[in-house]
Amino acid sequence: MDFYIQVLISGLLLGGIYALISIGLNLIFGVVRILNFAHGELVMLAMYGTFWLYKLYDLDPYLSLVVVLPAMFLFGVVLQRFILQPVLTTSGVMKMFTTVGISILMQNLALILWKGDFRAVQTFYSMSTIKFSGLIISIPRLVAFGAALLSIILLYLFLKYTYVGKALRAIVEDHATARLMGITVERHYLLAFGLGALFSALGGTLMMPFSSVYPTIGGPFTALAFVIVVLGGLGSMGGTFLAGLFIGVIEAFAGTFVSPGLKEAIYFVIFLLVLMVRPQGLFGMGRGTEEIGLK
């Protein structure tokens, strides 16, 4: 019994980070209406950033957030402004093809610049755990989960109560009408993309104390984030959070009970099933989804 609880807890802890990364994707999707295929590469870039700050300047991963988060926000803004904004009026698939191009580009630039090696950060707390009535919980994972939860709550409050947050929600619903209100839609796109990148970066950096980075690590994160966003519902932040936890738990159990090679296959099957049965997701919005190909 304890064993199951142990697996469940590690799944939930992992799921928190997945939720964080996926919320970034969902925000970008909801506001800018772009399916960002390069999302995992944003995570990858943040992980490398954390690694190099540690390696070159001996900066602790948690402290490196001070540099990594603003840098990745800016990176997201630049991507949106100079690469995606110009193709905003083309079809959804063409926009996605552009992000596929960005993904290939970033992946291979990382390979060229930093080689294919696995890079890890070894801190004094990397292996530290707390024991709690027979359960062993990794401290960096617990910290990551806590930080993920906190930032998701902050995002929720931001969207709910600030004027800019309300404008973002209005754009999610109907960007043409939002424009009539005087909302500078393109500028809010920059903000949303920056925030989306920031959230994935946060997820990436928080993972660094207990995992390693390599150029192709982004692919699985992109896949994971898409599964979670679709499962939780496009445009639904709460749904994404729950779906993130759910997928984390599935992963933890699948890793223990299913052939590890088929672990990922399970996500994709879930993804396909959700798309077939309830494409708007479990908590998703109905409105606006036709425009990007759900009916």
Partner: protein
């Protein structure tokens, strides 16, 4: 105040507006009447900057506004209440109203404007924390007009306000429009509901197939035989 001169406008190959000219004088209620698909909404889209036009020009307060984006047009003092309300369904009534004041000049004063809108439509105050999607049709229309007023416009354009409203409610709404005009806001009404419109409008334009076919003080238009037959069903 608003002056459209010889507008030509296309959706692809399809010409929706043909050499369209009209004027809205300050302080008046001006109506644009016409059958389905005549190009009424397209005219409003062209004014609000959402639809580019190939020929002609539009002046607002003597200044050309061609090429100005919709989000900036509202800064100039032109607000549009779109056809079908287009409220942000998942946002609350209050949030909808607040967002109406997003443009630069209206933003600071939004608390005060909100109180004025609540005075005009007390029901919105009662419903303020309800989502807009849960309002009744009439309430939604009030919320949409309220949202337009939040931009502190000098010119308020309302597209098919009476759509989907009961006759009694529609009548009340037209009375509300007169009240709004009394505050000093110029009103450009686009309608198919001819009777009520003609009751409140000072000046009327008739649009057919993208072209203004008739215009004049409302009384004269109402007396016209063609209008009587086709629009008033007399």
């Amino acid at each position: 105040m608003l002056n459209l001169k010889g507008i030509d406008c296309f959706y692809g190959d399809f010409q929706v507006l043909r050499d369209l000219s009209l004027k809205v004088e300050a302080g008046q209620i001006v109506a644009l009447l016409g059958p389905n698909a005549a190009g009424k909404s397209s005219t409003l889209a062209a004014i609000s900057g959402a639809l580019p036009y190939t020929k002609g020009e539009i002046n607002f307060c003597e200044k050309p506004i061609k090429g100005i984006k919709p989000e900036k047009v509202v800064d100039l003092g032109i607000a549009l209440v779109p056809e079908g309300r287009k409220l942000f369904q998942t946002l609350t009534v209050r949030e909808n109203l607040e967002l109406g004041a997003y443009s630069r000049h209206a933003r600071e004063k939004r608390g005060k404007t909100l109180q004025q809108v609540y005075e005009l439509f007390p029901v919105l105050k009662d419903r303020s924390s309800q989502t807009a999607g849960s309002l009744s049709g009439g309430e939604q229309q009030m919320c949409a007009i309220g949202r337009g007023l939040m931009a502190q416009p000098r010119l308020l354009m309302i597209d098919e306000m009476s759509l989907g409203l009961s006759p009694i409610l529609a009548k009340q709404m037209f009375t509300m429009v007169q009240e709004i005009a009394a505050i000093g806001i110029t009103i450009f009404l686009v309608e198919q509901q001819v009777h009520h419109t003609m009751r409140v409008a000072d000046y009327t334009y008739i649009i057919e197939k993208g072209h203004i076919t008739m215009s004049g003080p409302t009384k004269e238009i109402a007396a016209n035989e063609h209008v009587k037959k086709t629009y008033l069903g007399m």
